[in-house]
């Protein structure tokens, strides 16, 4: 009720809400998310119908990732490699008219396959095979560890900033497994066994943890038929509760670390905090509130970090900022920057904190809030029939432990984000419980 009252006080916002609602009603939602009841054990099945597309994509999201593994760090990623090859071998290793890929995140693992309508059966069989034991040669599976190590080389070994990010997350989350690195380390990769992989797979790669998202020129009937054909006879298992999402923050922490590494070419400052943030009681709406703040901090608008840190004063040459809600009652703030010439890392830290405190005290400028809302709404309107836009949002929601929404709900929630909720979040970010600062410097210095 409070939020509704605030919203009604804002004429501009109400006008936008009317505009948004009216346009939703009049625009055929080609790529809207439809939840399909299939009577199988799958966690959920969605259709994103797009009659203009010649391609069909079947995304299979396993609601488990590195945070759910008890094995060596990187195990969920290694399993993702093996399961992709296993699932892709629908008809052996011959050439096929399908393409696909997979990504292992810390919290979920996402596989997709896409192809023409002629491949429809195989696209669903690909997803179904993700729930079966990998039928791969043992030597092949063990050798895949070398590939995982090469991926570590490609993505991490020459990037000290990324290693620092993983170190920072470990410290920040303490015993909570959210802080584990999905890439692992060369040592943990070398130590992984196929038995550990199988234990993780058999526990988490089950229908109750799988969300299917089918997109393209498909009907509900076709999707239901395919799902029932491929997923009807699966054993019932316990879903992954991801209980770590609901764990309270551990004790306070204020840690400053210096990482000296000869691969650092430009000194950098990294800062991350965890703050208690109860939110509004509506986690989906909170997702939008956090997204607004993210957009504000990244923008060039009054209230952003760009003006005080990068444009008005040359404090940082570049920066990135993020807000992440991995835990239900907390928000993680991340800031990483390269100082401008002649500015030391302590000055960056001080200026960042001053800017955040000032923003929390003054709250988001009304005009900036409405400009962000307008930008967000016009992008959402424009991409209303864009399957990729809806799919990206659905995956982001699943990563955050939320149920995906349709485009009408998307637009409604954009219109509903309030200054009060944003200001509460900004205050939470400055009232942090756990902080880790990393000064990343060249060893030679």
């Amino acid at each position: 009720m409070t939020k509704v009252a605030i919203m009604l006080q804002n004429i501009v916002k109400c006008t936008l809400l009317f505009f948004v609602s009216a346009s939703v009603a009049s625009t055929p939602a080609h790529a809207d998310l439809i939840k399909i009841e299939t009577g199988t054990g799958l966690k959920a099945v969605y259709l994103l119908a797009d009659e203009k597309s010649e391609n069909i994509r079947v995304s299979a999201v396993i609601l488990a990732g590195e945070a759910d593994s008890n094995g060596p760090e990187g195990l969920a990623h290694y399993l993702e490699h093996l399961m992709f090859w296993h699932a892709d071998g629908v008809h052996g290793s011959g050439k096929h008219n399908r393409g696909g890929n997979a990504t292992a995140g810390g919290l979920i693992t996402n596989y997709y396959n896409e192809g023409r309508r002629s491949e429809l059966d195989d696209l669903f069989v690909f997803a179904q095979r993700l729930l079966t034991k990998p039928d791969l040669d043992r030597e092949f599976m063990l050798a895949e560890k070398r590939i995982v190590a090469r991926e570590y080389d490609l993505s991490v070994s020459e990037k000290p900033g990324r290693r620092a990010w993983f170190e920072m997350n470990r410290e920040l989350y303490g015993p909570n497994p959210v802080g584990k690195s999905v890439y692992g380390t060369p040592q943990t990769i070398a130590s992984m066994t196929l038995e550990q992989v199988e234990a993780f797979r058999s526990k988490h790669y089950v229908a109750e943890n799988m969300v299917l998202l089918a997109s393209g020129n498909l009907t509900e009937t076709e999707v239901r038929h395919q799902v029932q054909k491929n997923f009807a006879s699966l054993d019932k298992r316990d879903p992954n509760r991801q209980s770590w999402r609901h764990e309270p923050l551990t004790d306070g922490l204020s840690k400053r670390v210096e990482i000296a590494d000869d691969r650092v070419k430009n000194d950098s400052y990294l800062y991350s905090s965890l703050s208690h943030w109860p939110g509004s009681g509506d986690p989906q709406q909170d997702y939008y509130t956090a997204d607004f703040v993210k957009k504000l901090l990244r923008s060039s608008l009054p209230g952003s970090l760009e003006q005080p840190l990068r444009v008005d004063d040359f404090v940082v040459a570049r920066y990135e900022v993020n807000l992440i809600r991995n835990l239900r009652n907390a928000v993680q703030f991340f800031f990483g920057a390269r100082p401008d010439d002649g500015v030391d890392l302590a000055q960056v830290s001080q200026k960042l904190q001053e800017s955040l405190v000032l923003l929390a005290q003054e709250g988001i400028p009304e005009r900036s809030l409405e400009r962000i809302r307008k930008r967000f709404a016009q992008e959402a309107e424009r991409r209303n029939d864009d399957v990729d836009y809806a799919l990206e949002r659905a995956i982001a929601f699943l990563t955050a432990g939320l149920e995906p929404n349709d485009s009408a709900d998307h637009l409604r929630r954009i219109a509903r984000v309030s200054k009060a909720d944003i200001d509460q979040l900004l205050t939470s970010v400055t009232n942090r419980q756990r902080t880790v600062e990393v000064n990343l410097v060249n060893k030679a210095l």
Binding site: E54, N97, E158, K265, R375
Partner: protein
């Protein structure tokens, strides 16, 4: 003719069959009220319009300016504000429009585009016009951009892939100034670029006397013409400086090993000449190079990752150094202990591809995948506008018109003949290996510093 008439002349009309429908549209030629010619490709459902522009543009003659100056100048134009407006103000105003833009330099060219919702096209064009014609160009911003660009270049050059690129540029460009364009070397010379030099370059580089402009989208040619005039109105109607002459990359056969004991990994990069983009057959080269080295089903990925298990990824791409010089590049990061097998497998895979071409079971998959990629690009106004500009500059104005038909009409045997005739033999490729193991490759020329590359290619002795 009166400037009050927005679209003054229709030159030609090329028909194009759109993907996914039987609709036939025309690429039409127009002139804006201010006299700028442009091609227009209508995309009814796009909701957006893209305007792409290319300036053929070198450095002012006799100026002795550093070839990387356009890169620094453009960075300054984009970040330092324009028309007296503060940088954050102009950026925020543009972001309000749900629009995208890019402005960048290639050797001898400056390219740019905006892509805008149809109802915002004039607002976006006005902002683009300010950035192009009245950038703030302040000294403190120039100094900052130079520092940042140099720092970025140094950081890139310290990685395995950065070292491979540096070495490759030394060998293939030797002393040609384009080496300095790409490598931003020597950094001292970049640091010495003065504001006056940037201003001189800016005044000369964006003359509108010989522009290539293309528009794609749903806004209509009349509106596009107005937007073009708004974006270009503050620019001088002069000829831009001639680009440098360039005979092409000097790709010398051989294996050069750059020994870097502290690297955690090894990297392989090969370079070989292909016919330039201006000679046509783009669909053939795209399809062939994809079969060779794009995606999980490609020959190189299959041989080096799936079979040999020596790399996370290994691929092939075509780089257009200029539109008259195209290079086939293969490469990837590989396991150091497997380097000899990697090179053996690479040779066997490439030779087989070159001599036998695309197999019967690969061809329909590759053809379909390529058609699909192109169809996808044809749904995006910015891609279409840029493709239209490129096809015009490559002297193939009808390339876009017949793109899908050409892909559909590809004949495997003809494609394989072209592969055999144009892809260079493996022995003619330049192979660059960056590795912590100096002895990994028998018979290779091993150097410890990039500047020693000359030792690998001694001048031929006189008889």
């Amino acid at each position: 003719m009166s400037k009050s008439v927005s679209v003054l002349a229709l030159f030609t009309a090329l028909t194009l069959v759109l993907p996914f429908s039987a609709a036939v549209v025309s690429v039409t030629r127009h002139i804006t009220p201010n006299g700028h010619e442009f091609s227009y490709f209508p995309m009814e459902d796009a909701k957006r319009t893209a305007i792409a522009v290319t300036w053929k543009s070198g450095l002012p003659p006799g100026s002795n300016l550093h070839e990387a100056l356009p890169r620094i100048g453009i960075s300054l134009m984009l970040k330092g504000g324009a028309g007296g407006f503060a940088p954050s103000e102009i950026k925020a105003d543009f972001e309000d429009l749900d629009s995208g833009s890019r402005l960048w330099a290639r050797p001898g060219e400056i390219k740019g585009f905006i892509v805008v919702p149809d109802n915002h096209i004039m607002s976006a064009a006005h902002i683009a016009g300010l950035v192009l014609s009245r950038p703030n160009l302040e000294k403190r911003w120039l100094e900052r951009e130079k520092r940042n660009i140099i720092k970025d270049a140094k950081a890139r050059n310290a990685t395995a892939v950065g070292k491979a690129w540096q070495l490759a540029r030394e060998i293939v460009f030797n002393d040609h100034p384009y080496k300095r364009f790409w490598s931003l070397s020597p950094t001292n010379a970049v640091r010495e670029i003065e504001l006056d030099a940037v201003s001189d370059w800016h005044r000369a580089a964006f003359g509108t006397a010989r522009l290539t402009i293309a528009v794609a989208g749903s806004g209509g040619a009349r509106q596009a013409a107005k937007a073009i005039d708004a974006a270009l109105s503050g620019l001088p109607r002069t000829n831009t400086p001639e680009p440098l002459s360039f005979d092409g990359p000097d790709i010398r056969p051989g294996i050069v090993v750059l020994h870097q004991p502290d690297l955690p990994k090894s990297l392989v990069m090969t370079l070989g000449k292909l016919p330039p983009v201006t000679t046509g057959n783009q669909a053939v080269f795209d399809t062939a190079t994809h079969v060779l080295g794009f995606g999980k089903q490609s020959r190189l990925f299959h041989a080096l990752r799936t079979e040999l298990r020596a790399a996370y990824g290994f691929g092939a791409v075509m780089d257009d150094y200029t539109r008259n010089h195209r290079v086939l590049r293969m490469g990837g990061e590989v396991e150091t202990a497997q380097l000899p097998q990697v090179l053996d497998t690479l040779r066997a895979t490439y030779d087989e591809f070159r001599m036998s071409g695309i197999h019967a079971d690969e061809f329909p998959v590759a053809q379909r995948a390529h058609r699909q990629r192109m169809e996808q690009r044809l749904t995006r106004p910015a891609s279409v506008a840029n493709m239209l500009v490129e096809s015009t500059l490559n002297n193939q104005p009808q390339e876009l018109q017949s793109l899908i038909a050409r892909i559909n009409g590809l004949d495997r045997l003809a494609v394989n003949r072209i592969i055999r005739d144009t892809y260079p033999p493996y022995d003619d490729l330049l192979k660059i290996i960056v590795t912590p193991d100096a002895n990994a490759i028998k018979g290779a020329c091993v150097i410890a510093a990039i500047e020693d590359w000359h030792r690998c290619f001694p001048p031929a002795e006189a008889d």
